[in-house]
Symmetry: C2
Subunit: 249 residues, 2 copies
DNA sequence: TGTACATCAGTGAACGCGCGTTCACTGATGTAC
DNA sequence: TGTACATCAGTGAACGCGCGTTCACTGATGTAC
């Protein structure tokens, strides 16, 4: 019986299924809207239902709990950010931009999305929501933006334009300029997991640059630049370019 | 009459005043404890009062509202982090460490404090608490940690060991290697406000490094390094050293 | 030193609120024969 | 094509909870003379 239902569902979506998909989408949309207005901690099933003209218990036909709705929003946020990054990458490829220009394009896309969706950004890159543990299913979407950055560097390496260890640390104490063994191991493991052919130093620098990029964005978004940095666009571009240079682009 | 009371209060603290100070401290302590356990959004006046064996309304003799208690916690967090950074700086001076070593020492102190007090860190460097606006009074304590980093660089510059624009961006396109005018202006304004004698490029790089440092710490703390970076201490040290090099140390 | 008065910490009840979740139900839509 | 039955979206009431804040009060501690 179950299998019959399933094959039918796969063959064509009945009216009920379509309605269900639409309402699920409407719930997520309204939840996003409230997320954007009030932030994640303030997200309430009852408020979402109210706004949609439903009774709060009806939402339980679509999401088994508040946390599941939160998970859906987190996944959507990661996906939207990832899509923005990937689009920027694809566009810069179409324009056959140089590796540093591609890097900057992806960085800008990440920042642009963050500025346009500050609460969604805070949801995924801000303090963890208390009492909420992101399930395994979010790790895929979570890595999309990072993978766009990785792709830029991997392509530069493949075409031989990557310059290892530019300036970097330890200029003064040249003796210890090698990557510590533990970092080399981590970098190799990560490269293997991603199917990357990158020198460990570059992989390591890339991870650092990734975290630092989000540091720039978080500080801007969370107000730490108030009365410190005024020319935000210029500052970001300049810093993002420097990050690209730091990974060897 | 008011002036008489005030002069007396200043002359010596009566038993009542001492009791008041002690209980105020106890409230903040308990609130900190709950902050560490549950996070800022979950901080509740009633829970704090309960734990202290008081009735919830009694807290209003000490803090006029929940937000004022939050402000006190934020100030304390900034101050504790600032003190950790300043102590590390003072200690590295005592050891007459090199500028890069001092930089690393301060960075480590910041990270160490963050790892030891993750919720307090999240309170001040994570997503803004929804519906809460930090008052002007927090900006002083907020800058202490940053000023410790600034001091390292300023001292290196004063002794002539600061190397301008090391590696930096634009190696390929040497033409535009100058700092954009807007960034130069921001950097000069900031340096003037802090009474700093630093070249604009160094000031600018310092601000970027400051944001990037917290990016490294936030990613580690907020779980983005899961299954990516395992050797966290080594990774941090390596990255922090690179940041120091990027500002010219 | 003793007394009258002012100050102030802490009490306990109450207000009004919104929340997540459960549950028995109704009625419409889809399915099987 | 028509009928009996199963599925499922949505209802409305309820449970039990915790929250921030107000307010009139009591009783202890401090102050002025």
């Amino acid at each position: 019986m179950a299998s019959m239902t399933e094959t039918r569902r796969n063959r064509s979506l009945g009216a009920r299924e379509r309605a269900r998909a639409e309402i699920t989408a409407a719930i997520k949309e309204e939840a996003s809207r409230q997320l954007a207005e009030r932030g994640a901690a303030q997200l309430s099933l009852r408020a979402v239902a109210r706004e949609l003209g439903m009774v709060s218990s009806a939402l339980y036909r679509y999401f088994p709990s508040r946390d599941d709705l939160l998970t859906a929003l987190i996944t959507d946020a990661y996906d939207a950010l990832g899509a923005a990054a990937e689009d920027a990458l694809a566009d810069s490829r179409r324009r056959t931009a140089s590796p540093p220009a591609r890097w900057l394009a992806v960085c800008r896309a990440v920042r642009g999305w963050a500025l346009a969706h500050p609460h969604a950004y805070a949801l995924v890159y801000g303090s963890p929501v208390p009492g909420y543990e992101a399930p395994q299913s979010t790790t895929g979407p979570a890595s999309r933006a990072a993978l766009a950055l990785v792709a830029v560097v991997a392509e530069a390496h493949a075409t031989g334009t990557l310059q290892p260890d530019p300036g970097g640390p330890h200029r003064e104490t040249g003796a210890e300029s090698a990557l510590p063994a533990e970092l080399e191991r981590d970098a190799a493991a990560l490269a293997a997991r991603l199917g990357l052919d990158l020198p460990p130093a570059a992989t390591n620098a890339l991870v650092a640059a990734w975290a630092q990029l989000f540091g720039l964005i978080s500080f801007e978004l969370f107000g730490q630049f108030t009365r410190v940095v005024e020319a935000r666009d210029d500052f970001f571009d300049h810093s993002a370019r420097a990050l690209g240079a730091a990974v060897g682009l």
